[in-house]
Amino acid sequence: MLEVSGLSKAFGGLAAVDQVSLDVGSNEIVALIGPNGAGKTTLFSAIAGFIRPDKGSVRFLGRDVTGLPPHRICACGIARTFQITQPFARLSVLENVMVGAYHTTRVRREAAARAEDVARQVGLSRQLDMRADALTLAGRKRLELARALATRPKLLLLDEVMAGLNPIEVEEIVSMVRAIGKAGVAILLIEHVMQAVVSLAERVYVLNNGRVIADGPPAAIATDPHVIEAYLGHGAAARLKRGGAHA
């Protein structure tokens, strides 16, 4: 469904994303992990059209969408959320979600009905009339999800929708994301919360210094020496093997 190949983006001399290739199949939930500054968000921005890649291509449903502006990407069926939540601060929660819902209808009544549906799905039903800037962080993350979902995407790009949430909130979002996936939406998620990655993703890509250093099912990734070194530093994998708890 989504095929990224050889994607590169440099800022000045720094290669933020370097020759990245990955793919997401339809109905698949794929995770993208990596240490801070690995280039995950840059990769997302390049896929979603917010930055133009220097090299490489993004294909979606067999169509080349490389370098299209964000609204065109959205029209193709890709919706993204923002790591740093970007609510329409002075609009109500319902109005926020309606902006997404208006993507597929111009009729206000339909947009409002869809927005209420989606809000219920993500557990925002009781905050519909609240101003978006009055929401808690967990509420804002849900709002990001609801707005993106209201555009009826075929592929969702979720950028750390669980960061900063407590374990109960994480559990709630995990089951929501799972339900969205079950409903037939493919999902590519950036996540640091490993509990969520392990329970949601069928496959994981690990990004470090802009490159994909490993990919595979979550269980295999967790023991991959390259991955352990990326997170814990050079030589950590060897020490782990030798000393177990002393590492």
Partner: protein
């Protein structure tokens, strides 16, 4: 609109229609005209500045171009002013489109956009001062010929009603913005343009559409001004004070609200009329004008300082204005 809202709107409109029959003096009718005309121009600013967040400091350029187009068509080419009217709207729309395409294509936002509009209005003033077709600084005098067929009225009450009609028209359009997809998209762009684009909104296109609409509506005011005062010159047509007034009535009343500009304009003019006489009441003050302006300014500062959402903010309705379908 709720039943209650409908009734209140009806009462308000009837009150505005009845006003000249209750207050019959020319003075009262003229103040009424000024309030409505400023509210109308302010609302055209509000459609771009308040609803879409495209703060313009030079909105007068649309008014000025509309005024000149109308005056020139009428005096030089003998076109009937009624017929010239749509052309002044069209001219305003074209200027709005052009400013929009050029500045949004260049990615100008916020204060940069504001400065561009300010500069364009100045360019208008300088051009009007120097090209022969506008008769430079002399301005254009329209021959008095007070017949309704000529868009000139003996009774000032008719200009009052023209201003009322324009004011109601732009308020209706602003109200539609709170109820339609186009309006929702403009609000999204105002609040967060990146997020708006991520949700499939072509922000460039919507902003250009908005500025074209705002410019066209504002341009139509030019004809009315020229026909009422029978004179236009570069500093009236492109003076910064009119731009400021448009923005001020919206901010005082409440930017991005349907009623804001009308309330702001009412308060501003009534306050202006009251403070003008203030100085005369004090003993030993020979020139009242500076004092009035000081008091006027102080009240403005107080409103902006304590009511950042304008007078409409007092009702705390912003989040409820667009609610359930």
């Amino acid at each position: 609109m709720s039943r209650q809202g409908l009734i209140l709107t009806g009462v308000g409109v009837l009150a505005l229609i009845a006003y000249p029959w209750v207050f019959r003096s020319n003075y009262a009718i003229n103040v009424g005209f000024l309030v409505l005309f400023a509210a109308y121009l302010g609302q055209t600013w509000n459609i771009a500045g308040g609803f879409a967040g495209q703060t313009s400091f030079g909105h007068v350029v649309f008014f000025g171009v509309g005024a000149y187009v109308s005056a020139i068509l009428h005096t030089t080419y003998g076109v009937n002013p009624w017929l010239a009217w749509p052309f002044s709207a069209l001219a305003g729309a074209c200027v709005g489109w052009l400013i929009g395409v050029l500045s949004y294509r260049a990615g100008l936002k916020g204060s940069y956009f504001a400065l561009i509009t300010l500069a364009v209005a100045e360019v208008g003033r300088i051009l009007a001062n120097s090209v022969p077709i506008t008769r430079g600084g002399l301005g254009i005098l329209v021959r008095a010929d007070q017949r309704a067929a000529n868009f000139q009225f003996k009774d000032p009450v008719w200009f009052y009603y023209v201003a009322l009609a324009l004011c109601l028209l732009v308020m209706f359009i602003a109200w539609r913005l709170t109820r339609t997809r186009f309006g929702a998209r403009l609000a999204a762009i105002r609040e967060n343009e990146d997020a708006a684009q991520a949700l499939g909104i072509d922000s460039f296109r919507e902003k250009v559409k908005c500025l074209t609409l705002s410019g066209g509506l504002c341009g139509a005011g030019g004809t009315v001004y020229v026909q009422k005062y029978l004179y236009i010159d570069p500093s009236i047509a492109f003076g910064v004070d009119k731009s400021v007034e448009m923005l001020l009535v919206s901010l005082i009343g409440g930017a991005g609200t349907v009623l804001g500009p009308l309330i702001g304009s009412g308060v501003l003019h009534v306050m202006g009329e009251l403070t003008r006489d203030l100085g005369n009441m004090l003993p030993g003050v020979s020139n009242a004008q500076p004092l009035s302006i000081i008091v006027y300014g102080a009240i403005l500062i107080a409103i902006v300082a304590w009511l950042p959402d304008g007078l409409m903010g007092l009702f705390g309705r912003r989040s409820k204005e667009v609610r359930r379908a």
